[in-house]
Symmetry: C2
Subunit: 334 residues, 2 copies
């Protein structure tokens, strides 16, 4: 039996092995991705992102428990953790999580500590998500650490993106937060029992009002407004990111958070944004694969020697990088 | 007169305009990059990175002032600031800087707020650096905000990378710090007059010892050790990142920091690592340009219609992204 068949049959060991093949970009992994693709497109993809210290992982755990116990959904967690090899962050994270979710076959947790070329992590994550989707997991939670491009990539991947904050992490973070607001569908203030929670919420609210200036008078977080799009005159549903308070270590606010997520899913479906996001996600994936294939064909066609000699000429300032590229391309097309 | 000639003649207005052309990837910019390339390779590239709230920008200001006044060097600053369009962070940053450095023609400051495709920012920054290098700036400081891939890219670009920390930004940041240690040539604890500075230094020291386990007994920060490389038996100079304390708002510790930077330059030269870094940087640049050219040739060769119809088949799950790429490539080679 092939990996794909075993995974479709619910074989956990095969699933685990296939994920490794996919992460390593092994031929078996590539074949399986093609075979599994027709079975994808059903899962709800939730991205969870935020700075270290916000208690993201514990929040993800609580959400997974909620979906298991209350809604009897199968949940996969992909923890994208580019921590240093020194800390062994990914492995430790797994162990801590396992305590709560151990023995439940409806939950599958996978950490990725891959560090590599630009875009490599995003591509690997997208592939993992496809495998879990085909394997019949109803909810797939992708968790990322850090701030920057990786968050944007998660947002591209997810139907619903949660941005997690916590009180007392410093006001200076606001400049970065403003950028992150653009990708947030739901804002979570975790550790909401800590002092400073009011200030954090106030800061987030002002930033939301800056981000959605025309709506801020009616600001009614977590519901959507019908506003006329000036160019078409049509009614367009707008989603204003709600702010949810949680204390994940005590399980507080999780039900309300899950309800906000459900409202977002309803909004995506009713507004047609679900298909818009699906299309955008698949387009990003196709683009990434095209780039990868172009580079690997180039490497196959251009001898390493020729490439090295061009590099040497650049180092000697005999050629600019731009000129070298032209020569490499033309030599190849001959 | 061409842009390149004007820039080589020291024309500031031409420099400013050329930087815009280069940032926009305009044809004039591309031409000038080729013309200017033979004049590059002289500047010392310093990367400065760290979390928001560490006072990075003020530190960069002080360093620039030091190099101007004490060493009479020409200094360029490239501030890579991917903040949100809401905050207008880049523009504000320019204004604050200008107060200290205004009217000095030996200093040129450029902010980039570019947000775009993966790798785009790194490529733009590399191009800007080339222009400044050819224009005869002795020191080029590239400052980045945030944590993650962008830091790694800065490190690839710079001869000397400074990682800036500050006391009291939260202990949870340590997991990320560990990753950043790998790229740091010099660690700076800015705002060193704040409480908690001892703890921050202690934490950094333990992490350094983890990162350089074999040397930690002799740990003598900021000097280099001669250790026998087991595989070759040869003596290899090792650089242990020193920890420098500064209070940039008061100009404290700047001289000592500049001295540490000078020691690092001496180490790079004596160990041969200067050329190793130059080569690595130019290789990354060549790679990025090859990728870009491959994609643009692909877009030129493959009709948008064909691409869109493939995407539609993927959305309908009739084709996997991997199969679609193969069809697109083969259709193109026919």
């Amino acid at each position: 039996m092939t990996y794909s068949q075993a995974v479709l049959n619910g074989d956990r060991l095969a699933l685990s092995r296939l994920l490794t093949q996919v992460e390593n970009d092994a031929p078996e992994g590539r074949t399986a991705l093609v075979e599994l693709f027709p079975y994808t497109g059903k899962a709800h993809l939730i991205g969870v992102t935020g700075a270290p210290g916000t208690g993201k992982s514990s929040l993800v755990n609580q959400l997974a428990l909620y979906y298991r116990k209350t809604e009897n959904k199968r949940v996969a967690i992909v923890a994208v953790d580019p921590s240093s090899p020194f800390t062994g962050g990914a492995v430790l994270g797994d162990r801590v999580r396992m305590r709560d979710l151990a023995g439940d076959t409806g939950v599958f947790i996978r950490s990725m500590a891959t560090r590599g070329s630009l875009g490599g992590l995003a591509q690997s994550t997208a592939n993992m998500v496809q495998v879990f989707d085909a394997a019949g997991f109803d909810v797939i939670i992708v968790e990322t650490v850090g701030a920057g491009q990786s968050e944007v990539d998660v947002a591209r991947l997810a139907h619903t993106t949660l941005v997690v904050e916590a009180p007392g992490l410093g006001d200076d973070i606001q400049a970065i937060k403003a950028g992150i607001l653009e990708i947030a569908d739901i804002l979570v203030i975790n550790k909401a029992d800590r002092p400073g929670v009011e200030m954090t919420e106030k800061a987030l609210k002002s930033m939301l009002e800056l981000a959605h200036p025309t709506q801020h008078v009616f600001l009614h977080h977590g519901t959507y407004l019908n506003v006329a799009a000036p160019e078409t005159g049509l009614q367009k549903q707008l989603w204003i990111p709600p702010i949810q308070r949680t204390v994940s270590t005590e399980g507080k606010g999780i039900v309300e958070l899950a309800e906000a997520i459900a409202r977002h899913v309803a909004h995506l479906t009713q507004s047609g944004d679900w298909s818009v996001r699906e299309r955008a996600r698949l387009e990003v994936e196709l683009d990434a694969l095209v780039r990868e294939e172009l580079v690997s064909r180039f490497r196959r066609d251009v001898p390493q020697k020729q490439y090295d000699s061009m590099l040497e000429k650049i180092i000697q300032r005999e050629l600019s990088p731009g000129e070298a590229v032209k020569l490499l391309m033309n030599g190849r097309l001959k």
